[in-house]
Symmetry: C2
Subunit: 163 residues, 2 copies
Amino acid sequence: MTGRADRANPVPALVLSEYLPYRLSVVSNKASGLIARAYQARFGLSIWEWRVIAVLGGGEAITAQAICEATAMDKVTVSRALRALAERALVRRRTSPSDKRAALVSLTPEGQSIFDEIAPLAMEWERSLLEGFSAEEKRQLGGLLDRLWQRADELARNDGGLP
Amino acid sequence: MTGRADRANPVPALVLSEYLPYRLSVVSNKASGLIARAYQARFGLSIWEWRVIAVLGGGEAITAQAICEATAMDKVTVSRALRALAERALVRRRTSPSDKRAALVSLTPEGQSIFDEIAPLAMEWERSLLEGFSAEEKRQLGGLLDRLWQRADELARNDGGLP
DNA sequence: CCAAATTAGTTGCAAATGATACTAATTTCC
DNA sequence: GGAAATTAGTATCATTTGCAACTAATTTGG
């Protein structure tokens, strides 16, 4: 049982509005777009700068590499976000004593205070987006997204393994 | 009952990996990225060119405006995609007889044959992504995404209505 | 212990994207 | 009937992004 299409199981017609990658993309852009506009307008932060701040908000000093992993961002994107944040003195970089190639990044007090200000707003935005969803539905959504995430990683690993 | 945070209902801490807009964005990028790479490599199509082809695959000649609505793409993006597709002779544009500002766009035979070739692959990619999901789970996922879509539209309409 | 390979992070350049302004055709409505 | 406002689509320019090449430090393995 391959699940592959044949005479008995024809491939259903493609309808863009029903196509999962399309729907994910539109929903994600709508959701992120709303909030990104707000970050930008109120704090002058790009969505990537915000992501970096979000992971640094925990208080630990971590390397750019660790930021890449925690944010699913490319190292170039992280590098640029860090440069912008450092220029505004929202983060500080100290060369790691154990590896002089790497820098340990942490929020400055100003960075931390921006985090403290945005974090609750971010949670409100999320809540607002999920208004009308029951706790059970939120749980389902989370679980389904996790599985899609995992599945996409698997497919990427097999270099597509795609048709 | 505002749902707003107070002493009794504190705002939960922000954890990026649990944050819905972030998760949506990552999942969407992973899913689209996989498939977009395949469009590009095999057919030289950008994701937008593909979306345009997908809506034209139905066979109707429609205006760029209608394509915008059907694909959730910006009119500039549609214009560029159409230019690229027209250069490759995958679409044809005829001035609309009823409105000389608008052009009715349709696939050429070559365009149609590309659609016919990709559409089943696209369905396979989707199936592959959803491998392991029960019919019920797929239905749930679809419903939840629809509601998020709708909700994001509502929020955008109230200019954010966001905090 | 040292040459080769790997890793951290940055930079430079080409291509993609987005915002704005523009042209041309059409509608509105006085 | 025609001036003003609207709409379809395109062009322009600044910014962002993505890729590949690069520097510097570290690890590997012979």
